[in-house]
């Protein structure tokens, strides 16, 4: 019976798709950074922060998705809230890669914009789910 189930199905689907998309995003961005370092002049002290941000984002993504799934399925608001907090961090890193990378290619813009849209939608759904769980 749907009325007694508080878990959000759209959130679950979105988290699932987000996970798959993130794997593709991570590999594509890494490949593009390698391409940029070969084709353009990319000194080491500019390359290091970009790579660090990308790796940090990958490290944040795993607990973020896990907590999101767990919170949604167990209908607990604490993991979901934590996931929301990690999402904020991921958003900041994504904005860095979109605006303040050393070279921002058009493909970078597309990938990051898509990821930001997914984060925004996710955050909205999480807030709704938390509101549903709390009440």
């Amino acid at each position: 019976n749907n009325s007694s189930q508080l878990s959000s199905l759209p959130l679950h689907i979105l988290l699932y798709v987000n996970g798959i998309y993130y794997i593709f995003y991570f590999l594509a961005t890494l490949a593009m950074i390698i391409y940029k370092s070969q084709v353009f002049s990319y000194p080491d002290d500019f390359l290091a922060p970009d790579l660090a941000v990308l790796l940090l984002m990958a490290i944040l993504e795993v607990p973020r998705l896990y907590l999101g799934f767990k919170g949604n399925l167990t209908e607990a608001e604490a993991p979901l809230g934590l996931s929301l907090g990690l999402t904020v961090g991921s958003v900041v890193l994504c904005v860095y890669l979109l605006l303040w990378q050393t070279y921002v290619l058009w493909a970078d813009v597309l990938l990051n914009a898509l990821l930001l849209a997914a984060y925004a939608l996710e955050s909205g759904l999480k807030v709704t789910a938390i509101a549903a769980f709390v009440s």
């Binding site: 593009m32 002049s41 990319y42 500019f46 070279y103 921002v104 290619l105 058009w106």
Partner: protein, 550 residues
């Protein structure tokens, strides 16, 4: 006042900012304040100038093409309009590639690096790095001590290889040569088997000429050459002393005489207003074995006098290497003549056509003038009778013309004058044969082309005829394969043109020009490619094939 000065200094310290506005960039605008032809972006051109252009040499000015969207200045000529006018458009160029650069946060990404501007703080460092005449390693670092870092076996000797500096007991055999400027640098080592000839200028002063080391013979022969290239100092290598082969004295007006006894060392000394016995040239001859050891070294000196006004003299140095027990014959090509090498010539000794071991005389070392075809060399005085026999070798492929002026007075007699002029034009020993190939051997009679001598005289009358011009025409052809043709001399004709010498009234004199020239003419017929013959079928029926019908 102070802060404006600081601001001005700060402006001077940084290089001017690069121009990045495409509307203002113009690569073909080379002339300042003048219109460049066919340069549509030149701001100095007016509408009248544009009407004379035919095309735009620079049609588009853009930034880096990898950017996603950028401004482009497009220049074109509208030839339909009358008069033609220039059209300038500022368009947005879009790069559709998905990997185009959308933005960069790295300033030098797409621009060249600006060089460091010298300031009082970094001036010393920049001077150390870039202040010398050259940036390469100093010759002092070639000391033997530096190479003992990797000591080889004590018994191992290193024979000389091509290009390795010839070692002496303490350093290397010096061949002074000009480095960067024309002044002599004594730090240039002579390389093994590298034949070199250098000329450089040395500053001198007549008062101190006996103390200047580089002017004395001792400086060039006191080093002892090591027979092999030794690196380990414990094992002594054989030492070859440099002997004095010959000494030539050169007087102030350029006349050279060979000294008979060359074993006395002559050091420079001040004699009145001159400094005599100063070294003007050294010619090293090194003999080596085929295992890379030096066995003999000789030096031929040219000593001269320096006058008081001279502040610098030109010294010339040469080094040549000869293998032992060989007599090198310089070839002028192998087999065809090489452009720029001297034309080889020679004489036929008496007794031809009996076969002899060496039929022709020219087997001699490179400096022999008898083995070359020579023409008169123009001198600065331009006087035929004062010419000291200076001759220039005829180089294959180089047409030459030279001459002198002959001053005829009434007192000159015809016959001696004609003979003198003939000597001046033809030289002391004008050869009879010229080698048709650059590597023709003296034994191969058919490889030598006789020189045809022609006489052209103006009038048949038996008045006085003096030769006034010698023209040597060398006809050569391309010989051999189509892809690598060799030059071969086919015909040499020496034409002497004579003119009548009219008797002059006493007291008058005439000046007539005397010329000699060499012309090389290519008479090769167009090449026809030759193909292998098609195989033919040779069928012959037996004699009695149609028996019994035939």
């Amino acid at each position: 006042p102070e802060d404006t000065r600081d601001a001005a200094q700060a402006r001077a310290r940084s290089a001017p900012a690069p121009v990045t506005d495409v509307a203002k960039l113009c690569v073909c605008d080379l002339l300042v304040a003048q219109c460049d032809v066919n340069c549509c972006c030149d701001p100095d051109c007016s509408a009248d100038d544009f009407s004379l252009f035919t095309t735009c040499s620079v049609p588009v000015v853009t930034g880096d093409s990898r950017l996603c969207s950028q401004k482009a200045a497009v220049y074109s000529l509208d030839v339909e309009a009358n008069p033609p006018e220039r059209i300038f458009n500022l368009v947005d160029q879009v790069n559709p590639n998905i990997f185009c650069i959308h933005a960069t946060n790295y300033k030098q990404a797409l621009y060249l690096k600006s060089p460091e501007i010298p300031t009082p703080e970094n001036f010393d460092r920049l001077l150390d790095e870039y202040g010398g005449a050259t940036f390469s390693a100093e010759p002092d670092s070639w000391d033997l001590d530096a190479e003992t870092e990797n000591p080889p076996d004590a018994n191992e000797t290193y024979r000389y290889e091509y290009g390795v500096p010839v070692q002496t007991e303490d350093a290397f055999l010096r061949l002074p040569s000009p480095v960067v400027s024309s002044w002599c640098s004594d730090a240039n080592p002579a390389g093994f088997l590298v034949n070199q000839a250098t000329k450089c200028i040395r500053s001198v002063s007549v008062e101190k000429c006996d103390s200047i080391q580089a002017l004395s013979m001792l400086f060039y022969i006191n080093s002892s050459i090591l027979a092999v290239s030794m690196i380990e100092n414990s094992h002594k290598a054989e030492i070859v002393n440099i002997t004095v082969q010959s000494i030539i004295f050169q007087s102030l007006n350029g006349m050279r005489t060979l000294l008979n006894s060359s074993d006395v060392l002559r050091l420079p000394m001040v004699l009145g207003e001159l400094c005599i016995n100063a070294v003007l040239g050294v010619n090293y001859h090194i003999t080596y074995t085929d295992t890379g050891e030096i066995i003999e070294a000789a030096a031929a000196f040219v000593l001269g006098a320096i006058s008081k006004e001279a502040l610098s003299i030109e010294q010339s140095f040469e080094i040549s290497f000869t293998q032992e027990n060989t007599q090198p014959v310089p070839l002028s090509g192998n087999p065809g003549y090489v452009v720029g090498l001297p034309v080889r010539a020679g004489f036929r000794p008496q007794g031809y056509p009996f076969p002899a071991e060496f039929l022709f005389a020219p087997l001699a070392l490179s400096s022999s003038k008898h083995s070359q075809l020579t023409i008169l060399q123009s001198t600065s005085t331009q006087d035929c009778l004062a010419a000291q026999g200076a001759r220039a070798p005829v180089l294959f492929g180089y047409n030459m013309i030279s001459g002198c002026k002959l001053r005829i007075t009434a007192a000159m007699k015809c016959q001696p004058l004609a003979q003198t002029l003939l000597d001046v034009l033809k030289g002391q020993s004008f050869p009879e044969y010229v080698a048709s190939f650059g590597n023709s051997q003296a034994q191969d009679v058919l490889d030598w082309v006789p020189i045809t001598q022609l006489h052209i005289s103006e009038q048949v009358k038996s008045s006085c005829q003096i030769p006034v011009s010698l023209g040597i025409e060398v006809k050569w052809t391309k010989y051999g394969s189509l892809v690598n043709p060799q030059a071969r001399i086919v015909n040499v004709t020496a034409t002497i043109t004579t003119t009548t010498l009219k008797q002059l009234p006493s007291g008058r004199e005439r000046i007539i020009p005397v010329t000699s020239s060499v012309v090389f003419t290519d008479i090769s017929s167009p090449a026809e490619p030759g193909y292998k013959a098609w195989p033919t079928i040779n069928i012959k029926l037996p004699f009695d094939f149609f028996y019994p019908f035939v």
